[in-house]
């Protein structure tokens, strides 16, 4: 049952990501084929035949195509083993907690980030004075995103934080992305909007 729920969620996530692409008409045929192949492939390799990676390494480990991937495959296999044994992530989590507790970012790093943020603001305001037409919006959002990532990584300590907090933030961002893409698809398909990319 648990596996079924996992795969249902996986499927929903795939649909969420691909629907905006369908809406834009970007190679729908290829996406559909890839989707079906990926879902069938993962079902086959993980539910029907769990020892697929082991047999692959044993049987075809010598062929030039597979040999470079052997270390990566062994890594995946050991992760799967640790999940099955129930030891996955337990040791690492504790270590990262201890490590974080003692991590103090030096003032010079904070000052550097402050400098970058001030520079970013000057660039944003300066660029807005010059008319780049459609690129003004793009530059402004790009600089804002760079500034935001520095705040997140250093001021909010996300760079040195444990993986869980990063996943929490990432999930919020992911769902925001879904909201954005669905809304934009809706607007583009229903009415012909005057996007900010047209020069007045």
């Amino acid at each position: 049952m648990e596996e079924f729920v996992n795969y249902a969620l996986y499927f929903i996530a795939c649909v969420c990501v691909c629907v905006p692409l369908f809406g834009l008409g970007l190679a729908p045929g290829i996406i559909v084929n890839l989707e079906i192949a990926a879902i069938l492939g993962s079902f086959y390799s993980q539910i029907v035949e769990k020892g697929l990676i082991k047999t692959l390494i044993k049987d075809k480990g010598d062929s030039p195509l597979i040999r470079p991937m052997v270390p990566a495959l062994e890594n995946v296999q050991s992760t799967i083993d640790s999940i099955e044994n129930g030891t996955f992530g337990k040791k690492e989590e504790k270590e990262s907690q201890e490590e974080h507790e003692h991590h103090i970012i030096p003032i010079s790093v904070y000052a550097g980030v402050l400098g970058i943020l001030i520079l970013g603001t000057i660039i944003t305001v300066g660029v807005a004075q010059i008319d780049f037409g459609p690129w003004n919006t793009v530059i402004a959002m790009l600089v804002a995103t760079i500034k935001a990532s520095f705040v997140l990584l250093y001021f909010m300590h996300l760079k040195y934080d444990n993986a869980m907090n990063r996943v929490i933030f990432g999930s919020g961002f992911f769902f925001l992305l879904i909201l954005f893409s669905f809304s934009i698809i809706d607007i583009i398909t229903r009415v012909k909007p005057l996007l900010g990319f047209t020069k007045f």
Binding site: I104, A148, F155, V191
Partner: protein, 241 residues
């Protein structure tokens, strides 16, 4: 048996394995709250982008009514306050209490400065009658929107049908977005300033030290999110017309 240092009398709660466990659990809770904040403002940003693409002339003329100079000053104030907040946490980690109090106090002053600039901006807008909904009273703004739309229709190579009557009716919408988005953000600034005051008082009373500074860290995360939202709000409202 007292194993905590003299500076702060801290023992982790009995349902946690260790002080580090308690710290990371509390921080995880704050991060979950931050995600709800991002999603709340995200909804407003999506609404803004939808209406901006539907009624571009209203938003173009509207953003020209905002004072870029005041917005830039406010951006610098918030960035500086984010820096001083980070230093407030840093000196709590280093157990230098008086420096921590100084930097937290500067952060509060920055918050007050931000709200002061906001007060001047808001009172100017209200004075001009640039307010949302039925209280909107500025015929000059509506005329500018109509002029801009007809001009755009005449010069645009692509054939665009613009409904002038709808534009006239929708014109106050821009200030609806402006006041709701900056107002909600300003509300967060006020709450953040109160929270920083709280941790400053607790720091002064000697509740925090290198082994326990969780509230400062949590309030700091909240304050940085407030800064983060302004980083996006400022170019969207003031600069990208």
């Amino acid at each position: 048996m007292n194993t905590a240092s003299k500076e702060s009398h801290f023992h982790h709660a009995h349902h946690f394995e260790s002080a580090a466990h308690q710290y990371s659990s509390a921080k995880q809770g704050v991060w979950l709250f931050m995600v709800t904040e991002i999603l709340m403002f995200g909804g407003l940003f999506v609404a803004y982008l939808i209406y901006k693409s539907l009624y571009a002339p209203v938003f173009h003329v509207g953003s020209s009514y905002l004072d870029v100079k005041m917005g830039t000053i406010n951006t610098f104030i918030l960035i500086t306050s984010s820096f001083t907040m980070a230093l407030g946490i840093y000196f709590n980690q280093k157990n230098e209490r008086s420096k921590a109090i100084i930097f937290l106090a500067i952060t509060i002053l920055c918050a007050l400065g931000f709200m002061l600039v906001k007060f001047f901006e808001y009172s100017h807008k209200i004075h001009l009658g640039l307010v949302p909904g039925k209280y909107f009273n500025n015929p000059e703004f509506v005329q500018k929107v109509v002029d801009f739309a007809t001009n755009m229709q005449a010069t645009s190579s692509a054939h665009q049908d613009i409904d002038i009557a709808a534009l006239k009716k929708i014109a106050p919408l821009y200030f609806g977005f402006y006041f709701v988005m900056t107002g909600l953000h300003g509300f967060h600034v006020i709450i953040g300033a109160c929270l920083i005051l709280w941790v400053t008082i607790k720091t002064a009373k000697g509740h925090f030290g290198p082994e326990y500074y969780t509230p400062v860290e949590g309030v700091g995360l909240f304050w940085h999110i407030v800064d983060l939202i302004w980083i996006y709000l400022f170019p969207l409202l003031y600069l990208v017309g």
